[in-house]
């Protein structure tokens, strides 16, 4: 995408556009992970600041910007939970928060890979997977939502999964 503009106005423009496009997704995700809206807002703020500091990485490569942002948000939550965990008094509090237990670096990285792959399949394929899998809709509900016959939803979801497999790497073995 070429040079990143260094002027302060463009820094502000970058943050504004990331916020307008990804803010809701980021804040909802951080809120689920932290269980606390105020903590989640801090996480989103730090994520956007990091995005601005890595603007070049983020805009020059191809790939899912949202995947990058969600991964960074998750890392921030995990790092903060760890930092608190070193203080014994707060260990009990941490144990109540399963989403940030343990090391999720592998799963987190795969989420970027999958989002990237979803960006590469056709919009029709992506949308049917989002409806059926991520929104938990039935074929009947998705058909109504998308305005196509149920039979089309069925065959599209099948070909969408096949397309995803092709994008993830022909012949590549699948991570466990």
């Amino acid at each position: 995408m070429g040079d990143v503009d260094r002027r302060p106005e463009s820094a502000e423009a970058l943050v504004r556009s990331l916020y307008a496009e990804h803010g809701r997704s980021l804040l909802a995700y951080a809120t689920r992970l932290t269980g606390d809206r105020a903590a989640a807002e801090d996480v989103v703020q730090e994520t956007l600041v990091r995005a601005w500091k890595h603007a070049d990485d983020l805009t020059s490569g191809k790939g899912s910007v949202r995947g990058w942002l969600l991964t960074v948000a998750r890392n921030i939550v995990t790092d903060r939970a760890r930092a608190r965990a070193v203080r014994p008094a707060e260990v009990a509090e941490i144990a109540d928060r399963p989403p940030v237990e343990g090391d999720h670096s592998e799963a987190v990285v795969n989420s970027m890979v999958v989002l990237d792959a979803l960006d590469q399949v056709s919009p029709e394929h992506r949308e049917v997977l989002v409806e059926l899998y991520y929104r938990g809709r039935s074929v009947t509900e998705a058909a109504k939502e998308l305005g196509v016959p149920p039979g089309t939803v069925k065959s599209r979801s099948y070909y969408a999964l096949r397309a995803l497999r092709t994008v993830m790497g022909p012949g590549a073995e699948v991570a466990r």
């Binding site: 969600l70 670096s105 099948y158 466990r176």
Partner: protein, 238 residues
């Protein structure tokens, strides 16, 4: 459906069929090996989808988050005010590039030991000679051989948005071996980029695997394969 119709299997795997449709597919699966095989592959894809949080598909700004935006902008302004904004470099223009293996075949010279293995060849895509397939500009490719473990690995590191997609092809692995891929950055921090089991076919034809790491491509120092038991297999310095 008792008739053979694999296109039902997508919605089946995703749990989107009605209960009576599920029963029909179950009945068909019991008698159709082809569909059962297909089902395994589709289930793998469903597992992949499970890596992404459902919040990833929300769009737009948060509702009533204007204070959050203002706070973030203040922090960015304060940080950028007196000094230059962060490190930025011009992105290389995309060019046609070669896929490693095509080049590797032409490299005959063994060029010295690297990371416990013998370096067979190395290239960045900025000065690639022969082009057959295209890999993204800024990719790095390296091929190494490890005499100790009898394996040869071709590794490609491709740039993504602030992270890297690493693919390896390894010859000399045994069927059933459980492998893990580790990527180390220039600060010495190591990331797991996934794990896999070597199939009998892959043991014969070469095992291909891909994984992502949150490390920009120019910061990747090495790619190491170990068994999940922790035994070294092969390392490529990038």
């Amino acid at each position: 459906m008792s008739e053979h119709d694999p296109s039902q299997l997508g919605a089946y795997v995703l749990g989107a069929l009605e209960p009576d449709e599920v029963r029909e597919v179950d009945e068909h699966l019991a008698g159709c090996a082809e569909c059962r095989t297909e089902l395994v592959e589709l289930e793998e894809m469903k597992e992949f989808l499970g890596e992404v949080p459902p919040e990833a598909f929300l769009d737009g700004p948060p509702t009533d988050g204007d204070l959050l935006l203002q706070r973030t902008l203040r922090e960015v302004r304060a940080a950028s005010a007196p000094q230059e904004a962060p490190v930025v470099a011009a992105a290389a223009a995309p060019k046609k590039r070669t896929r490693w293996l095509a080049v590797a075949a032409a490299v005959v010279v063994l060029a010295g030991a690297v990371g416990g293995g013998v370096l067979i060849g190395r290239q960045t895509t900025d000065n690639a000679p022969v082009a057959t397939e295209t890999v993204p500009a800024g990719s790095k490719q390296v091929m190494v051989s490890d005499a100790g473990t009898g394996t040869t690995m071709a590794a490609t590191v491709e740039p993504r948005a602030g992270w890297s997609w690493v693919t390896v092809t390894i010859a000399g692995l045994k069927a059933g071996a459980e492998c893990q891929m580790f990527v180390t950055d220039k600060t010495g921090k190591t990331y797991v980029a996934g794990s896999w089991v070597v199939s009998p076919k892959a043991a014969q034809e070469g095992s291909r695997f891909g994984g992502g790491v949150l490390v920009p491509t120019d910061q990747v120092r090495s790619v190491e394969i170990k068994t999940v038991q922790g035994k070294h297999v092969v390392t490529a310095a990038v």
